[in-house]
């Protein structure tokens, strides 16, 4: 099976997020970027499929931040066969443009399956998975948490509300948006990662700028924390007393 995995880095949400002075985007100066967790799941699922059925796993990423390098080397260390860094001017890029760039780059690759995390924390104008599938004219199924390969088709488990799963048969080639891999993403020992960084090479592509979708982001801001919880303070015993009282008042306990 020839599998492509699309990955990206995203801002680490543990940081305090600041808005840039013009109010139209995030202030990226002190932001730390980390690999998108759902893309890690996509990579894990790809590696599992490779282990079961043989084939090749190629990881692609747009070089939007310097942290992309480490993410790609980690993918190689986990067992990906090739890692591709796509360079270009990505200032203000949205998912439509990203998908168009990816389509162009994918002309250089043969593939049966494209996996990517079903979403990132930055999606505004749609999701990369279904957009790319549209441009490539191949099917897309998202929120997938299990993929099996049976003789030219894939059987995927798609999550529905209420803990339900729906099983669907999907023709190859296709794009799948992964919600969860069958196993938690594997660990990369720092020593292996460093070794990769010393010895392995990333394939690089240069790409042209593509047009964004037709929306305009007018303002980016932080939500007012209106309706914040009433904090109960004091020593633990006091707090517990207050909680018990609240429960009594509401008739939850007698």
């Amino acid at each position: 099976m020839k599998i492509i995995v699309l990955t990206t880095v995203i801002p680490d949400l543990i940081e305090e997020l600041e808005i840039s002075p013009d109010g139209k985007s995030l202030d990226k100066t002190y932001l730390r970027y980390i690999p998108n967790e759902l893309d890690d799941h996509a990579l894990e699922e790809a590696l599992l499929l490779k282990e079961r059925h043989g084939g090749e796993v190629v990881v692609l990423a747009l070089n939007i931040r310097e942290e992309t390098d480490e993410m790609l080397f980690a993918a190689l260390a986990k067992g990906a066969d090739k890692a591709v860094k796509i360079n270009g001017d990505f200032e203000g890029i949205d998912n439509h443009a990203k998908a168009k760039i990816l389509r162009k780059v994918l002309e250089n690759f043969e593939f049966d399956l494209i996996l990517t995390g079903v979403q990132t924390v930055e999606d505004i104008d749609g999701y990369v998975g279904p957009l790319l599938a549209s441009y490539l004219a191949i099917p897309y199924v998202g929120v997938v948490s299990g993929v099996s390969y049976l003789k030219d088709t894939l059987l995927v488990k798609k999550e529905l509300p209420g803990g339900l799963l729906t099983e669907m048969e999907v023709s190859i080639p296709c794009v799948l948006g992964i919600q969860a891999a069958e196993n938690p993403p594997r660990y990369v020992a720092i020593s292996r990662l460093r070794q990769m960084m010393r010895t392995a090479k990333l394939e690089e592509f240069q790409c042209e700028k593509e047009k964004n979708g037709k929306i305009e982001i007018k303002k980016v801001f932080k939500p007012e924390i209106a309706g914040k919880a009433e904090m109960i303070v004091g020593e633990p015993e006091e707090i517990v007393e207050k909680i018990v009282k609240i429960l009594e008042e509401k008739g939850i306990i007698k």
């Binding site: 594997r186 660990y187 720092i190």
Partner: protein, 645 residues
């Protein structure tokens, strides 16, 4: 004719013996080279202490004494045996002046008696007292019987010899037995003398051949395992330098060093390591003794293919990942081992390979990712590391910006854990009261890496060391203080391999005792509680610091009670080796729970005093789960000092 038979028997025995030894040596040489040939004079001293005088054995006094008798008995009896053998092989030679020497005979008889006492004590211990983890195996029983009959045959030889000699030099036993054999005629005596001599020789030759097939191989291997012991400070790990294709860690025999393999040969299966092990006390998954014997068994079972140069993994097949992850790295096993086996070297090397292959609990994986992204196990970002200082009335110096005398390496738990932050503030206040010039690294500090290293993530450890070194090299300080003994251990003993600097690193109890001793910290109030002190593994066994905490407690007026397992025998809280983050599986009773029960068993004790942040966490949780709340309270030494000043 007899000489010929003796020659044949002797040569056959030698052949069988050396053939086995040859295989064992070839297997040993499959291991990597390791330089244990330095500092010969120090090694000789250790050899004398542990093999000649056998000080280590006296930690278990009954068997320590018995073993001393048996050991020395062997040496003396061997001299006598050599005499008999040479006489038998080379009849013309007559070196019986050794064996006929009156003083030698007295010595020999004395040791026959002592060895007899020794094996009786050993038998009582093994079959009646039955200490845990000491098997009553076939080979152990056989050996005791062999020794008994070797002694008996020798005693009878002396008896019959006395009938033959009548006048001349007699041994004490000989004289004794002469009373019984008075009426024996000389020819009968000669016959039985010969019979006893042959029995004696055959038993000893059998014993010789039997040695390398059983745990008695330790007779040959233990002197080497002791001589080639690690001369480095207790429990330090050395920097790992790998060649291009080499992988971290060990999975096959050829990944281990010859000294690692020697562990298998030197092990006497005494069970001291098992008896001391907190993992074995809380679940059946890990036995340190089993790790060593599995190594040896694996090699012997697979010797044909291994000697051919084929690969076969020990890790996963014979030794499981569950066993390896169960270890707390408390060092009790290695500390107790009479032949200086190095259990932790084996465990950590195998852990390194597990890490490299990503085989670990997901909870542990998440912690490692936290370490690599944020430099701490809490997954909190670096900027909040010094948030605990905000509630202090004074400002702690920033060691990155101004020179200080003491650099206080605060540590993750003391900085980030909400349950511990107040105690860290108290320690800061106490330092302030001492008037010592100290500072911290604020956001520049990263986890020191001790536990990361014990988990086996060597690459991550090096990354943390590099980050810390960068900051520390830019700072000016004379000494380092640590809150956590884990931090103490690695910065003091292992960082020098990377930094080239040898810093003066102290635990806060040492600094505070100094302050109390020289009067810079004055006690205002005497505390009147009954307390007991838990020696942290990394303060006590790893760094030999036992007294300062106790001196402090007594100086505060506290009555210090000792738990049954204290000082070197301290029982680990179960938080080390990564366990404070792991899910516990198949546990009968957690080590921390066993320990707090041990503390609570002391009459009228009020406080369990600790000097390590992880101990605080483990013990307060344990007290809640065993229902000792209100009966026993965990207190940090700094808290008590603060109360008293």
């Amino acid at each position: 004719m007899e000489t010929l038979i003796l020659w044949i028997v002797f040569l056959v025995a030698l052949f069988l013996f050396f053939r086995r030894i040859y295989i064992l040596i070839r297997l040993l040489l499959l291991g990597k080279f390791e330089n244990r040939f330095d500092n010969l004079s120090k090694r000789v001293i250790i050899f004398i202490r542990d093999i000649i005088i056998q000080i280590r054995h006296l930690r278990e006094p009954l068997i320590g004494i018995a073993h001393f008798f048996i050991f020395w008995g062997f040496i003396i009896l061997a001299i006598g045996f050599l005499n008999i053998l040479i006489e038998g092989l080379f009849p013309p030679l007559s070196i019986s002046f050794i064996a006929k020497n009156r003083y030698f005979l007295i010595l020999q008889d004395l040791f026959i008696f002592l060895v007899l006492i020794g094996i009786i004590l050993a038998a009582i211990r093994r079959y009646i007292l039955k200490p845990p983890h000491l098997k009553s195996s076939f080979s152990a029983t056989l050996i005791l019987f062999l020794i008994f009959f070797i002694l008996l045959s020798l005693a009878l030889m002396e008896g019959f010899e006395s009938v033959i000699e009548k006048e001349g030099v007699l041994s004490p036993i000989g004289s004794l037995l002469l009373n019984w054999f008075q009426n024996m005629d000389i020819n009968t005596a000669k016959f039985w003398m010969n019979f006893s001599k042959w029995t004696h020789i055959l038993l000893i030759l059998f014993f010789l051949v039997y040695i390398p097939y059983t745990k008695h191989l330790h007779l040959i291997a233990a002197p080497f395992s002791v001589f080639f012991t690690s001369l480095k400070s207790t429990g330090i790990l050395e920097k790992v330098e790998l060649k291009e294709d080499e992988r971290y860690g060990a999975s096959e025999i050829k990944d281990f060093s010859w000294r690692d393999i020697l562990n298998g040969y030197a092990c006497t299966e005494c069970g001291r390591c098992d008896r001391a092990c907190p993992a074995l006390a809380s679940s059946d998954v890990l036995s340190p003794k089993e790790i060593i014997s599995k190594l040896k068994d694996f090699m012997l079972e697979n010797r044909r293919i291994l000697l051919k140069g084929e690969s076969k993994p020990l890790l996963g097949e014979k030794i499981t990942k569950e066993e390896l992850w169960a270890c707390f790295t408390c060092f009790a096993c290695q500390d107790w081992c009479p032949v200086r086996n190095e259990h932790l070297q084996l465990i950590i090397q195998m852990r390194r390979r597990l890490i490299e292959e990503g085989i670990m609990d997901k909870s542990l994986q998440d912690i490692l990712i936290n370490y690599s992204r944020y430099g701490n196990s809490f997954g909190q970002f670096e900027r909040t590391r010094a948030k605990w200082t905000q509630d202090l009335e004074f400002k702690i110096k920033d060691a990155r910006k101004e020179p200080v005398e003491f650099l206080w390496f605060v540590g993750d738990y003391a900085s980030y854990d909400p349950r511990l932050q107040e105690k860290t503030r108290i320690l800061a206040k106490v330092f302030n009261k001492c008037g010592i010039d100290f500072g911290i690294l604020y956001e520049g500090e990263r986890n020191s890496g001790n536990d990361v290293r014990r988990i086996g993530e060597e690459g991550l450890y090096e990354m943390l060391v590099e980050k810390n070194m960068e900051i520390m090299k830019k700072s000016q300080f004379k000494k380092i203080i640590t809150t956590d003994p884990h931090t103490l251990h690695t910065i003091k003993n292992e960082y020098p391999y990377y930094t080239g600097d040898r810093w003066d690193v102290l635990h806060y109890t040492q600094v505070l005792w100094n302050a109390l001793k020289n009067g810079t910290l004055k006690i205002q109030r005497s505390l009147n509680y009954k307390v007991t002190f838990h020696d942290p593994c990394y303060l006590g066994r790893y760094n030999n610091i036992y007294d300062e905490p106790r001196f402090i407690l007594r100086a505060l007026g506290l009555k210090v009670l000792e738990m049954p397992r204290s000082r070197r025998n301290s029982f680990c809280c179960g938080g080390g080796g990564g366990h404070i983050w792991m899910e516990e599986k198949e546990i009968k009773e957690r080590p921390a729970e066993q320990r707090v029960k041990e503390a609570a068993s002391l009459k009228n004790v009020q406080y369990l005093v600790i000097a390590c942040p992880k101990d605080y966490i483990m013990f307060t949780d344990a007290i809640k789960s065993v229902g000792l709340e209100g009966k026993l309270l965990v207190k940090d030494i700094a808290e008590l000092i603060y109360e008293a000043i």
